[in-house]
Symmetry: none
Subunit: 276 residues, 2 copies
DNA sequence: ATCCTCGATCACCGAATGTTCACAGCTATT
DNA sequence: AATAGCTGTGAACATTCGGTGATCGAGGAT
């Protein structure tokens, strides 16, 4: 059998790529935690250690990127806890880091929704690399939208200001409202389902019957209409969700400051058909 | 230190949830491959084993969900290969499955873009579980977008809009209608039985005598005919079910608006507007 | 301590959508 | 050609969905 080529000396953990993450560690191995804490501090990751299974709601509230769990300290409800956690937060990176285990146990954990399973004792550096690997994809997707300001119709959405503007005036969106419109606007004209939206803005799974998304869409529409009366931006797709697209309102064909021509031709579209 | 709770006996690998994946394995450990092959077959995953590093382009062409690599057989260029691969296919799940390795090696591999690193010898079941875990996320984000628009006759079925279009105009399908036609259209000309259709669109088993599928087919035909009168799309197979295929209607061999080709096909529609 | 903003829920209502049924029209057999 | 079994149709009926305004409670700011 061939040899595995040698690795270069470990590159600096602060490598340009790795942005700061928020993670929590559920463990009680003080020695391990101490070492880990130091490394995490050095990386600039926000982190918190928990002695036991925090209620899922609380974990949700922490807005984590990932969580590291030693299943052994959770006792018999470990599996159930793991399952509930993964179900409630499909976007959360879950790395199990625990003592000796059987194949069946590892398989079970992974099937329940864990993203990785690391056996103790392990090197903190590897744990960190695995957490990074787990979080990487999600980040790649989320990040591409946090690029420069988005413009649509009269609206300018600036994530550096956490605010949207019309003709330089702030639309006075709250945080949630902003996150919602940012998500929609960056969806590139696609229709987003409520579950998706909720998942990505609120950070955890939507329970059936939750109307939060609708309510916020209404608030957004209200503020947007006040600020930019001739345009409509958020379109409902019945039974599915919402779609963002700047469209001239009916009867507002005179666009004072608008880029000439092109745009006026557009409204013969799906939305129009649906609303008909 | 507490004990890790026992896992239940391993649940059936064919678990309902796990859809078929396409994966490739770069390895040459014939014993391992044999066992793995059998398992993968049983799971219904399309898989292929490669004796060595296929050119990255070729791997791209395989349209894989994930790839399993034994770095050891790649020799000295292993790292470089891994890096190029991960870079070229950010959406590909990469699981390194290789012999003994140092922490530094594992960390390096993960940093280069690998999603998981498993040490041989390992149980195939665990490998499979890890591949599933790796693919899980990707699937969540990527799945919707992956299936590009389907075109047939004058019809364009877009799953990013949950809608079908004819010459850029929406056919105004409801969600169920859309899901039904999407299913049929993706069935690639095969005849689907009502039970199948119901099962896959409604999500549960059809009770004998339920006519929902028929009713929806009717609604679909109605809307499609209104939007694209010269074509018929859904065909009945008596005693069996339905088949999707765009076919010119009898006596409509002259397609009135077709000749100037491109022009008509590129309407000033929503799609165009969005891409602007 | 008190005021105020923001987010989470609720209940209500009109509208869009899905389900079911009876009957008419077809198809393949006898 | 007659018949039993499928499928197409239209409409009534039941459900679900989304918009809206109001209320309530948690925190933050004053």
């Amino acid at each position: 059998m061939n040899e595995l080529p040698n690795a270069r000396p470990e590159t600096d953990s602060q490598g340009a790529a790795s942005l700061a993450l928020r993670i929590a560690v559920i463990d009680n191995d003080s020695g391990f935690l101490q070492v880990l804490d130091k490394r995490l501090d050095r990386l600039g990751w926000e982190h918190r250690t928990l002695a036991g299974p925090a209620p899922v709601d609380e974990v949700v509230a922490m807005r984590l990127s990932a969580i590291v769990i030693d299943l052994a300290i959770l006792g018999p409800q470990a599996w159930e806890y793991l399952e509930r956690l993964c179900e409630a937060m499909p976007g959360l990176g879950v790395v199990v880091c625990t003592g000796r285990s059987s194949v069946a146990q590892r398989v079970r954990g992974l099937r329940l929704g864990a993203d990785d399973w690391l056996t103790k004792p392990c090197h903190p550096e590897e744990l960190i690399a695995r957490v990074e690997a787990v979080v990487r994809r999600r980040r790649e997707v989320d990040e591409r939208r946090s690029a420069g300001p988005v413009e649509a119709g009269e609206l300018v959405i600036r994530n550096d200001h956490f605010q949207a503007f019309v003709e330089g005036r702030s639309v006075a969106l709250t945080r949630r409202e902003f996150e919602l419109i940012e998500l929609l606007a960056n969806a590139d004209g696609r229709v987003l389902e409520r579950e998706d939206i909720y998942q990505r803005v609120w950070g955890y799974a939507m329970v059936r019957g939750d109307r939060s998304v609708d309510v916020f869409v209404r608030k957004l529409r209200h503020k947007l209409e006040a600020a930019s009366p001739n345009w409509s931006y958020i379109h409902t797709h019945f039974g599915v969700g919402y779609r963002f697209a700047a469209e001239l309102r009916e009867g507002a064909d005179i666009v004072p400051d608008a880029p000439p021509a092109d745009f006026v031709a557009e409204p013969a579209n799906e939305a129009a058909a649906l609303e008909a």
